[in-house]
Symmetry: C2
Subunit: 197 residues, 2 copies
């Protein structure tokens, strides 16, 4: 049973990975079982089986995308000390993620936020938790840096979180829609300027 269970897990991962790629360009609600089955060379039943339903598949895809964001931007920053050093590393990783993300069509979380913000349900709840944790992480590093005297306490932490996430969102639009190659560097410069003011 173990060997086959491992194989099933690999299949599951393959389905989710392809689903994340398709969702990145078309959105979570355009993720259809049939097109995913075609892309994978599998039957529809084989694709949806491990997840029970299309909703389960969407949930797995969003979970995976959130994990990928954390793995790309947050996790590596944990190797440097908290506060300003970690914040600076995070900004570098963040802008690198915006420039050439693991998703073909820009920031998955931002796209999901626009797609899901008006559609109550488990998908929205999962996204809300992800965004809330991400913003809390940023805020925490800012406050630690302020306590250490590395960021001016005249700046409001919530204001900085809004400014930083905003710069990222605007840069994402400049990269994905406006095809502005200078956007990632500008975003990095603006983010660093925002916290060193």
């Amino acid at each position: 049973m173990r060997r086959s269970a491992e194989a099933a897990q690999l299949t599951r991962d393959r389905i989710v990975a392809t689903g994340v790629t398709k969702t990145s360009t078309d959105g979570l609600y355009a993720l259809t079982i049939g097109s995913l089955a075609d892309a994978l060379g599998m039957s529809k039943a084989g694709v949806v089986g491990p997840f029970g339903s299309r909703a389960g598949l969407q949930f797995a895809v969003l979970t995976k995308a959130a994990d990928m964001f954390i793995a790309a931007v947050v996790a590596p920053s944990m190797q440097v000390e908290s506060g300003l050093p970690r914040l600076r590393v995070t900004i570098d990783l963040w802008c690198g993620y915006l420039d050439s993300s693991p998703f073909p069509n820009g920031c998955f979380v931002t796209a999901a936020s626009c797609e899901l913000d008006g559609r109550p349900g488990e998908l929205r709840n999962l996204l809300l938790a992800t965004v809330t944790r991400w913003r809390a992480f940023l805020r925490e590093q800012i406050v630690i840096a302020q306590t250490a005297g590395d960021i001016a306490t005249t700046l409001d932490a919530d204001d900085l979180v809004t400014a930083l996430t905003g710069i990222a969102m605007s840069a994402n639009q400049e990269i994905q829609l406006l095809a502005d190659a200078t956007a990632p560097a500008r975003a990095r410069r603006l983010m660093l300027a925002a916290i060193t003011r």
Copy 2:
């Protein structure tokens, strides 16, 4: 012929208005002829007829939404002189639009940007033109204000455009996804701070 043509125009407007509302929550690609027909109490053929096809309907909806954004945020600002005065009025209108927009689910343009940025076609072209004109308008007012000595020339105009649009996008997420009622006021304060630095 005139009377009936007017009636046809009213029907067209009614279809587009309902389509804009539905699209605001579900997205352009979830705008379905059947559901729109149900919402309007019309037949599917009657809904899609005036637009030739679903693609034509989507185009009309996006056009209308862009017009509504311009009418809400840009047009009224034309009554004050260009440069800093017009920019300040625009910021007020912009934050008011984010707070209680004519769309039920937040900034239509931002949502469309995320939905369309990876899908080449006429819809994307229309959106790209809209966003480009909007950013050019902001930049123009900034440059005029700088020429008049009302905004420091040490600030880069493109940087300011990125910062302002970013604040708006972040505030949009805070309002729509995070249900943060303080977001509009913070956005206004941050925008004004950005240009008076």
